[in-house]
């Protein structure tokens, strides 16, 4: 037998019934929140042409070929295919439009680290065709609502603005290479390294101090006020106004207690064009959601349209819910129907019980019904005695009650 036959590859895993049951509950809770706000679901292919995802780092994609030798890739995210749709199939749609998605995304992760998931589930929303702060605030508020609906209470949504850093870099008049080195160091909040890099350039006083302080511009809303005192140019100033506006809209949603600010959020700046969002909670070392405004992406596929969105990492959200001891409904069979001869009657009884909301299995074996029911934690057995009579066996106390089928099913006939 092949050594690999009974194993799954690194980075993917089976989801057994209990976990799967929980995952579906979480997904459907989130989907309800999305639908109730007009974000209906779109499904896109699991794999597409590599070219569609060309803006994503190629080493992160899981690729293969079609029979014509074209490169295909498992989707590394679900926003990109939606961007493609809005520039093509939805090019003539009335905008703005809200859509949502739930599905697996795939990323090639470091084989040495090995344990990060290569297949993970994302549930997200996109608000397309509107560049106003209300749209950004709405996707953030919807995400908060989804977390709350799932039972997560303690979490924090960090908001940044891509234009803030870009504006300051413009003011500092640094070349592209220096900007990229500085971006990396600010992203790591590496104060000392930022300082020694900045020392090597001739930057206007005022702007220099601002760059040195940049990694520290995170925390509560007071960060915005602190930043406003600095000598900001038009672009960085507009970014601050925008973030202030989004914050005040979120206040009207009543969600300000979940919001924090990080003006030094500088990951994915080639992609994000405005608000950037990341969500955190205790007990999970990675963000549980991420997103932001990406006004340039849809244009890559032929029709420039502004857009904003957030994706929730379902597996990470579930670990957060588990960490917080949020209780889930468990998969539970309530009754086992057992018969010897009266098969048709057994089926009728089972369906009757099911229509009153119970989960019912019909025993298919000959012997061992009781042992099976006990092993599966089924509370009771309904034994068909004859065409009219049944025994209800309570497995918790062993009590047997004889009754008629009519009595059991409430006399409906």
């Amino acid at each position: 037998m092949s050594k690999w036959k009974t194993h799954t590859p690194d980075g993917v895993f089976d989801l057994l019934e209990k976990e799967c049951y929980i995952k579906r509950q979480v997904e459907s809770t989130i989907a309800q929140v999305f639908h109730s706000r007009g974000y209906f679901e779109i499904q896109t292919p699991t794999f597409e042409f590599y070219d569609t995802f060309a803006h994503i780092e190629q080493s992160q994609m899981i690729k293969f070929f079609d029979k014509n030798g074209r490169i295909l890739s498992l989707r590394p995210d679900l926003t990109t295919p939606i961007a493609r749709i809005f520039a093509t199939k939805y090019a003539d749609e009335t905008l703005p439009k809200r859509v949502s998605y739930i599905g697996s995304a795939f990323r090639e992760t470091d084989a040495v680290a090995g344990t990060l998931q290569k297949e993970f589930t994302q549930a997200g929303i996109e608000f397309i065709g509107e560049s106003c702060p209300e749209a950004d605030a709405e996707v953030i508020a919807t995400t908060i609502k989804a977390f709350l609906a799932c039972g997560l209470e303690k979490f924090q949504i960090d908001i940044g603005q891509a234009e803030f850093f870009k504006g300051i870099m413009e003011q500092a008049k640094l070349d592209g290479e220096a900007v990229e080195s500085l971006r990396k160091l600010i992203d790591q909040k590496s104060f000392a390294a930022v300082e020694s890099l900045v020392e090597g350039y001739n930057i206007k006083p005022g702007i220099k101090e601002l760059i040195l302080e940049l990694p520290n511009f995170f925390g509560g809303v007071e960060v915005i006020e602190k930043a406003k005192e600095k000598p900001l140019g038009k672009r960085a100033g507009a970014a601050l106004d925008n973030i202030t506006e989004v914050y005040s809209i979120l206040k009207d949603y009543g969600f300000e207690k979940y919001i924090s600010i990080d003006l030094a959020m500088v990951q994915g700046l080639n992609y994000y064009t405005g608000i950037i969002v990341k969500g955190f909670t205790e007990g999970v070392g990675f963000p549980i959601c991420g997103g932001g405004r990406y006004d340039n992406l849809i244009g890559e596929y032929g029709k420039p349209v502004p857009a904003t969105g957030v994706a929730i990492g379902i597996e990470r959200l579930i670990s957060a819910l588990n960490y917080n001891n949020v209780e889930f409904e468990a998969p539970q069979v309530h009754t086992l129907v057992y018969y010897e001869k009266e098969r048709a009657i057994a089926f009728k009884i089972a369906d009757g019980l099911r229509s009153s909301g119970l989960c019912v299995e019909v025993w298919t074996g000959r012997e061992g019904a009781k042992a099976y029911a006990n092993a599966r934690g089924i509370g009771g057995i309904v034994k068909v005695v004859d065409g009219d009579t049944i025994d209800i066996i309570n497995l918790n106390d062993g009590e047997i009650t004889r009754t008629s089928i009519n009595d059991l099913l409430g006399g409906e006939e």
Binding site: Q188, K189, F191, A193, V284, G285
Partner: protein
């Protein structure tokens, strides 16, 4: 209040870290006792210390199993994980170098390089557009040129004594190395005040 967990790289770095933490008022007495325990607590300040292998520190911190880690820059560079690197603690100072036979030069052609740091080595030579064969070793890298396994090595150099005694020397310097304080990306946001308080105190202590 939640305990903050600090992962320390076992060995000399942990001794120096403990000294530093004591100076900012954390209780590390349990860490200094000779024992086989792996986790030590400072109950008054609600801090847990863990002693882990240096190369594992970034892993613990990235996953959030530790909120804070103290580890050498060499390990951080080699691992390339997504962390905040808030502070240069200055101790454990040394250099990452390309070393070879005394008075030799790195030729522009194909060479073999032995190292404990394949990623750092790959990045360094890629930047110079040089093709190299990297031979990964786990220790005593200086042996490689001596027995003809490779022409050069990439390793950290502290005093340079081992090199000298074996007729080797530093050929090129890649970068300087020292101990860093790294922080998990979520922890910094969820526990900003407590973590930044430690950072601030350490910063003052280090710049004294």
């Amino acid at each position: 209040m939640k305990y903050l967990t600090i992962a320390l790289a076992k060995g000399r770095l942990s001794e120096l870290s403990i000294e530093l933490f004591e100076r900012i008022g954390l209780d590390c007495s349990k860490l200094k006792e000779k024992s086989r325990k792996l986790i030590f607590t400072d109950d008054e300040n609600k801090i847990k210390f863990m002693l882990v292998k240096a190369s594992d520190v970034p892993t613990y911190v990235e996953y959030g199993a530790a909120d804070i880690g103290i580890v050498g820059k060499d390990t951080i560079m080699e691992d390339g994980r997504n962390l905040y690197e808030l502070l240069d603690l200055k101790f454990g100072a040394c250099r990452m170098c390309v070393c070879g036979w005394k008075d030799s030069k790195v030729p522009s052609g194909f060479i073999k390089v032995a190292t404990k740091y394949p990623n750092i080595t790959r990045n360094y030579f890629a930047q110079k557009n040089q093709t190299v064969e990297i031979i990964k070793l786990s220790g005593s890298v200086e042996l490689a040129p001596l027995c003809g396994l490779s022409e050069f090595i990439v390793d950290i150099v502290e005093s340079g004594r081992t090199l000298k005694e074996n007729n080797l020397s530093v050929i090129e310097e890649i970068c300087s190395i020292s101990a860093r304080m790294v922080v998990n990306r979520v922890s910094l946001k969820m526990e900003k005040e407590r973590i930044m308080d430690i950072v601030e105190k350490l910063r003052q202590e280090v710049s004294k």
